[in-house]
């Protein structure tokens, strides 16, 4: 499981950086001697030293280290080298808790009444079984939205992510018409959900924050989280492990608790993609709702009754 390895490596690395930063010293000095000027708080934290010992220092010595060097627009458009992200959504585990949606909306300050992750109540026909189907952006390999965008405001990255540059989008909404999965939403007005300090931030194609009036928004597969060695918000928020995220080049996906070989999972559980016949080649795979962990009915209370008619 590469992702986890990455995350462990990243964690160690950032630990070292943090240690170096907090001591703020040259090679010659003992890095573990506290700086004299700092007013101690009395609160201790445990750290792993470079030599592998667990040390305890005062909290006052911790200094915030920027999590990530800021990326240029060009880097954000290129994507993460060597990666090809993939998601597997196990319909047998979903009971429409909507935690995925909540955490996604919260993290991206999505407007009230809109969602980037949608959970559909599905039933193919009268006698077939209903089930819950969460949808994210499919991050298609043949993305219809990218094809129609007149200004390259929505684009396909080398890591497979379809992202949006809200600083370039002209708001023609052709991509919304083109997307067969209806995944895109529009900022019809000045976003009302975004805290002032976030609004002042520069827009990033990787966080899709802050959303801007008159432009299109959608699920971005959270590459900013991946860079931090973490999982997308929907994946980590789901208590039932419905979402599995990973890198197809490493043939592995994880929901945080369990990790699978992607190809095994898709083979053993007969994974499929939505609307395969359209030729969009989504990066999101589904596992059919068989041998379910929960009955369909357990999710009804979370759904607006008007949305329970299917087909």
């Amino acid at each position: 499981m590469e992702n986890k390895n990455t995350s462990r490596r990243d964690f160690l690395l950032s630990g070292i950086l943090a240690t170096a930063a907090l001591t703020g010293c040259g090679e010659a000095e003992n890095p573990f001697l506290p700086e004299a000027e700092v007013a101690l708080t009395g609160e201790k934290v445990k750290l792993l030293s470079v030599t592998g010992e667990v040390i305890e220092i005062d909290k006052a010595y911790l200094k915030p280290v920027p999590a990530m060097p800021p990326l240029t627009n060009e880097q954000e458009r290129m994507g993460i080298e060597g990666k090809k992200f993939v998601m597997v959504i196990d319909l047998a585990r979903c009971k429409n808790l909507k935690k995925c949606q909540e955490s996604c909306n919260h993290a991206h300050f999505v407007e009230e009444g809109q969602s980037w992750v949608k959970i559909h109540s599905m039933q193919e026909s009268d006698l077939t079984a209903p089930y819950w189907q969460p949808t994210t952006c499919m991050h298609c390999d043949e993305p219809p939205c990218v094809k129609v965008c007149p200004v390259d405001a929505t684009f396909k990255r080398q890591d497979g992510i379809v992202a949006i540059d809200s600083d370039r989008c002209i708001g023609c909404r052709f991509c919304m018409a083109a997307c067969p999965y209806s995944t895109r939403v529009f900022n019809w007005e000045e976003p009302t959900n975004i805290p002032e300090e976030v609004k002042q931030q520069h827009y990033s194609c990787e966080t899709s924050v802050p959303q801007k009036k008159g432009t299109v928004g959608k699920c971005d597969f959270c590459p900013d989280m991946v860079r931090k060695g973490e999982l997308p918000h929907c994946v980590s928020a789901c208590p039932n492990g419905v979402f599995m995220f990973g890198d197809i080049n490493e043939d592995s996906v994880t929901n945080g608790a369990e990790t699978y070989r992607f190809s095994d999972l898709i083979r053993d559980k007969a994974g499929y993609r939505l609307m395969e016949d359209l030729g969009t080649k989504p990066s999101v795979y589904y596992l059919p709702p068989v041998s379910r962990n929960f009955p369909y009915e357990s999710g009804i209370e979370n759904q607006d009754p008007q949305d329970l008619h299917h087909h």
Binding site: G113, K118, V148, V151, G171, W188, L274
Partner: protein
């Protein structure tokens, strides 16, 4: 004056609505995430459609040596120019970030049908303006000659635009040649503007849009609505400028035959567009088609089909129906039917996405334009009519020189 005043007021209301839209965002419209294109886009399609008539009457007739159409060429051409101007404007009005319009040129990607539309509509506008201007040159000379008939300002305009025209044989030869060249180029460009406009829809996967019939279907509808608009304009100009001598019953008779043919052609493409999918009733198409045939949009759908096509066919098939007044009525019916037809092409499809529309506010399940949208749409129509009206006030709406030449030719022939 009252007419112009009304148009200006409607235009100003539209401008105020647009100011509100700029200030608060597209939230002032009733478009939302599912119905993300509304009457702005259907109005755009309508204007592009109506503008095609310029190429029909001016270019196709001219190349086919249809002489009787000469007196109505300028009416057709000014309709084309004003409609295409407002088609371009309304597409900017529909944009969420109109101030980023230049991105289309800075970051334009040629694979997007929008870029194709920008290119062909721009080209069409230029050719149409030239097709309006070049035949106007001999007329400007006549206007300058009779300068006591118009005010000082107008004379200045005429001189600025046409004083270089002396009417020599060489100049006529050049103008004749350039008009022929323009007529030849405008036909493929005209086909392009409406085919590409149809592709804005047909290049998507949505039921009701995902059709290979769309290009031809749009073109035939465009010729119909444009011809209908020309008939209406012929009637109005004839009445108010007392042009009975130039726009005769013969012109109505002949236009009537053309319009009835176009009606049948459009009806034919409609039958293809609706009957074939209805025969199969694929699941995705079913909700859309039933919404049109018997559901939410059935009233509008059958209105557009009957008032926009079937009734005009019935009226115009009879010789008595091809008199000016019934023709005018049929023309109005065609134009109104066509406007609703465009609405039906754009909106119902968006209400029937492939994945079910769930977890959205109840309002998302329906669409009725807000007052701002109506005001802007009406304002754009008023704008089109205003351009035509002002043009007719400033320039002769009947091409003087060409009509004289044609009369001479006729006299010689007899």
């Amino acid at each position: 004056m009252i007419w112009t005043g009304i148009l200006v007021i409607i235009g100003l209301v539209g401008l105020y609505a647009y100011y509100r839209q700029l200030r608060y965002g597209l939230v002032v419209t009733n478009m939302r995430d599912y119905v993300s294109w509304g009457i702005y886009i259907s109005n755009f399609v309508f204007f592009v459609a109506i503008s095609l008539v310029g190429s029909l009457i001016t270019a196709i007739f001219r190349l086919a040596n249809v002489k009787w159409a000469t007196p109505i060429t300028r009416i057709a051409e000014i309709i084309a120019v004003s409609a295409i101007i407002f088609a371009s404007l309304i597409i900017v009005i529909d944009m969420g970030r109109p101030e980023r319009l230049l991105n289309v040129f800075i970051h334009g990607r040629i694979q997007s049908p929008i870029l194709w539309d920008v290119i062909v509509i721009g080209t069409y506008l230029v050719i149409s303006v030239l097709l309006l201007y070049v035949p106007l040159l001999p007329d400007l000379k006549i206007l300058i000659k009779f300068k006591e008939n118009s005010g000082k300002l107008l004379n200045k305009v005429y001189r600025f635009q046409g004083s270089f025209w002396r009417g020599t044989k060489d100049q006529f030869k050049i103008s004749e040649r350039s008009i022929t060249a323009l007529c030849i180029t405008i036909i493929p460009v005209a086909f392009c503007i409406h085919t590409v406009t149809s592709w804005l829809f047909a290049t998507t996967y949505r039921p009701g849009w995902d059709s290979t019939n769309f290009g031809a279907y749009f073109i035939s509808g465009a010729f119909l609505v444009g011809a209908g608009a020309v008939v209406v304009a012929m009637f109005v100009f004839r009445r108010f400028y007392k042009l009975e001598k130039y726009i005769t019953e013969m012109h109505f008779e002949k236009m009537g035959r053309i319009v009835v043919m176009l009606c049948m052609l459009y009806l034919y493409f409609n039958i293809n567009e609706y009957l074939v999918p209805a025969f199969k009733m694929k699941k995705a198409e079913e909700a859309h088609l039933m919404g049109l045939f018997t559901g939410e949009f059935s009233l509008m759908f059958w209105f557009a089909i009957s008032v926009g096509m079937i009734l005009p066919i019935i009226i115009l098939l009879f010789k008595k129906g091809r008199k000016p007044l019934p023709m005018f009525i049929a023309g109005v019916m065609i134009v109104i039917g066509a406007w609703f037809k465009r609405y039906l092409i754009v909106t119902p499809t968006l209400l029937h996405p492939i994945l079910p529309m769930q977890e959205v506010p109840e309002a998302y399940h329906h669409y009725f334009p807000s007052w701002e949208e109506w005001a802007i749409a009406m304002g754009s129509m008023a704008g089109v009519l205003l351009i035509i009206t002002l043009f007719a006030r400033i320039y002769p709406i009947i091409p003087i020189q060409e009509t004289i030449t044609e009369h001479h030719e006729n006299d010689e022939a007899h």
